[in-house]
């Protein structure tokens, strides 16, 4: 479960995130929408403790991120916009290492390859150096790392930008799988279609504020786009 309470971040007086209050429950897929600079990435970075909040609290599984920076990361998987791996190592070696770091040092090679099967990365490719991978392949390794971690919360920062529709669709499958497994998912995205497809709720952000929250079940694709654009024009 992810929780933001009065979460605020300012840089030299300019507000990046303004008093965010948000709860993402287990099994929920919450999509953050908004223009560039609206505060989506800032929110995710605050949950990851990549930056320190100016005010407020971010909680994961009931633990304050500021007080338990390592403990909270045990519950957390993260897929950035660019999954950057150790390019000199193979996909399999990368997955193994991040599983070790993530608290699962005991996976066998067969189990690790099993994760690649699930995300659709061929075993042949898994044995090649990451330096030779396309962006889509690297994102797949990112998904495999996230699945192997068996986290209870998943943070995604525009993971599908620049991916072809098929690869993008594989992300939807990941989100569905996570949701069914009871993971709380928070995803920042520009992709309204994907948000409507895979999200259970969407939030629209503007200049650091969460201006509205909708259940995706209550709106159609066209409505969502209309509401989004309305907010952008205000």
């Amino acid at each position: 479960m992810l929780e933001a309470i009065g979460l605020t971040k300012t840089y030299d007086g300019s507000v990046a995130l303004d008093d965010l209050n948000l709860t993402v429950r287990a099994g929920e897929v919450f999509c953050l929408l908004g223009a560039n600079g609206a505060g989506k990435t800032t929110t995710i970075n605050l949950f990851l403790r990549f930056i320190a909040p100016t005010k407020g609290t971010a909680r994961i599984a009931g633990l304050d991120v500021a007080d338990h920076p390592l403990e909270t990361k045990r519950h957390l998987a993260y897929i950035p916009e660019q999954v950057t791996l150790y390019r000199h190592l193979t996909g399999l070696e990368n997955l193994e290492y991040f599983s070790v770091l993530g608290g699962h040092p005991d996976y066998t090679e067969e189990q690790l390859l099993g994760f690649f099967d699930q995300v659709g990365l061929s075993r042949d490719a898994a044995g090649k150096r990451v330096g030779t991978y396309s962006k889509g392949m690297r994102q797949k390794v990112g998904i495999a790392i996230a699945r192997a971690k068996q986290a209870t919360a998943l943070l995604l920062d525009e993971p599908t930008s620049g991916l072809d529709p098929k690869a993008s669709n594989e992300f939807s499958e990941l989100l569905r799988f996570m949701s069914v497994s009871g993971v709380a998912v928070l995803m920042a995205t520009h992709d309204l279609f994907r948000a409507k497809e895979s999200g259970t709720r969407v939030g629209i952000m503007k200049r650091g504020r969460l201006v509205t929250t909708l259940d995706t079940g209550d709106v159609g694709h066209a409505d969502l786009e209309k509401i989004y654009l309305q907010h952008m024009h205000d």
Partner: protein, 482 residues
């Protein structure tokens, strides 16, 4: 539970193995270490040959003179004042029997040439004034002397840090720039532990290369690693190398825990290297020389000339004074031609007395310079390391000073033996020959070396700990993004 360190080390090792730049750096370093050891060993062999032959000559000369003395017919005429004769104290003590006082190379001399190529390692001591040997220096290729030899101490002191920085200047900044840090930092592992794994693998490997290549090269060059005193010194040598390497890794860590670009880190660390390895030692040298300047050589030489002219003019009076003060020195029979030699000794004695204050000032200032350099050497870990490495090699300043004192003491002994006999024109007998003082170098105890090296190790450990504490404190506030 946090990730097992062993697995993290294995990962870093894989990364290092796959990185061609790292191999280039390590290969180059291994080559430099081997080359430096070979170079040092070659110099050491050349020097040992010279020193051995000097020591052998000193023995051979006395043995030859003794033989000549034994084979002289009983009714041989007494030696003249200028003649070369095994019975004449002036001839034996002043020239034919003059002794070489050799500073033997230490067990690890091949590891550090130090100033052994600049400072004479043996003197020819005779009954003549100290000035006759202490200033007689052989000068070789001046550019070699200026730059110092390419020895292992230079590779460890100057190049080792540079290669460490090449491996570690971007430990964290590169991961930040390439983006892998985001994925690492989203895992339940502290950045400190992540950095520790990186440093242990890189540091362990480059230090291992230094130690293994150095020891193998030393053995290949014929240096005994198991001879008397050698294993303990090698142990300390390894400690110095490890401590010095740790300090430079700590410096790289301290630079990396502040979010900065790799390029900025490289410039910062290169500047630190330049300051520590080049600038601080040079400034220390200049400060020592300007705050405690030695009197100019010209002053010394002109003082000697004045004293010499003055004393020569009063030669007869000086001799009379000597006989007046020491009637026991007067020869039993007056030989007019011998008067000249006796006058020479009296004049020499007077000159020595007159220039003694100038020489003393010279020595005092040199000692002050050395004391200042030794006190402030902790400003540059490179100086501390070089001092420790030359100390272990037996080419350091303290050992040289101790030997020099022994040489001066021996010179005095020699003069005290021969000059009174020369005054009295008392011919040497076989019994006298057995009593001629011989120079035997008294090596300082190994515990003295260990004590000095221990202080040096402390001088490396303290800044390392300070840097690590600073880095550890700062990394808690490290922001992966933003």
């Amino acid at each position: 539970m946090t990730a097992p360190l062993g697995r993290m080390l294995r990962h870093e090792w894989r990364g290092l193995v796959a990185d061609r730049t790292a191999w280039l750096v390590l290969g180059l370093f291994g080559f430099l270490v081997a080359y430096a050891v070979m170079n040092g060993a070659t110099w050491n062999r050349t020097q040992s040959r010279t020193l051995d032959s000097a020591a052998a000559q000193a023995d051979a000369r006395l043995a030859g003179l003794r033989q000549a003395l034994d084979s002289l017919p009983a009714d041989a005429p007494p030696p003249g004042p200028f003649g070369r004769d095994p019975r004449s104290p002036a001839s034996v003590g002043g020239r034919d029997g003059a002794q070489y006082t050799v500073l033997p190379p230490g067990p690890l001399a091949a590891t550090a040439v130090g100033q052994s190529d600049l400072l004479p390692q043996y003197f020819q001591v005779s009954m003549r004034s100290r000035q006759t040997f202490a200033n007689a220096q052989e000068i070789e290729n001046p550019s070699n002397l200026l730059e110092g030899r390419f020895d292992l101490a230079f590779v460890i002191g100057s190049l080792f840090p540079l290669l460490i920085l090449a491996l570690s200047y971007n430990l964290l900044s590169a991961e930040r720039e390439q983006g892998t840090l985001a994925l690492v930092a989203s895992q339940p592992v502290s950045l400190g532990r992540h950095l520790l794994a990186k440093v242990l693998v890189r540091g362990g490997f480059i230090t291992l290369v230094a130690i293994v290549v150095a020891l193998v090269s030393l053995a290949a060059a014929g240096v005994s690693l198991t001879g008397p005193g050698a294993p303990a010194r090698i142990g300390l040598w390894i400690l110095v190398v490890v401590s010095y390497g740790a300090l430079w890794f700590a410096a790289a860590l301290a630079a990396n825990v502040v979010p900065r670009s790799s390029a900025a880190n490289a410039v910062l660390l290169a500047t630190v290297w330049l300051a520590v390895v080049v600038v601080v030692p040079a400034v220390l040298n200049v400060v020592a020389k300007t705050t405690h300047p030695v009197p100019s050589r010209v002053e010394l030489i002109s003082a000697m000339r004045t004293a010499s002219n003055d004393a020569s003019a009063r030669g007869a009076a000086l001799l009379a004074k000597v006989y007046g003060d020491h009637p026991e020195l007067a020869p039993s029979e007056s030989v007019d031609a011998g008067e000249f030699m006796s006058r020479t000794y009296a004049v020499q004695d007077e000159v020595d007395r007159q220039i003694a204050p100038v020489l003393a000032r010279f020595d005092e200032q040199l000692v002050r310079q050395q004391q200042l350099a030794e006190r402030y050497r902790f400003l540059s870990p490179a100086v501390v390391t070089h001092a420790a490495l030359t100390d272990l090699a037996g080419t350091g300043a303290p050992r040289y000073r101790a030997w020099l004192d022994q040489v001066l003491g021996f010179h005095q002994q020699w003069q005290e033996f021969f000059i009174p006999r020369a005054f009295r024109r008392q011919w040497l007998t076989p019994a006298d020959f057995d009593a001629i003082p011989r120079f035997r170098y008294q090596a300082e105890p190994d515990s003295a070396v260990r004590g000095r090296v221990a202080v040096g190790l402390l001088g490396l450990a303290i800044p390392t700990v300070v840097l690590l504490l600073l880095a550890g404190n700062r990394i808690r506030r490290f922001e992966v993004a933003g």
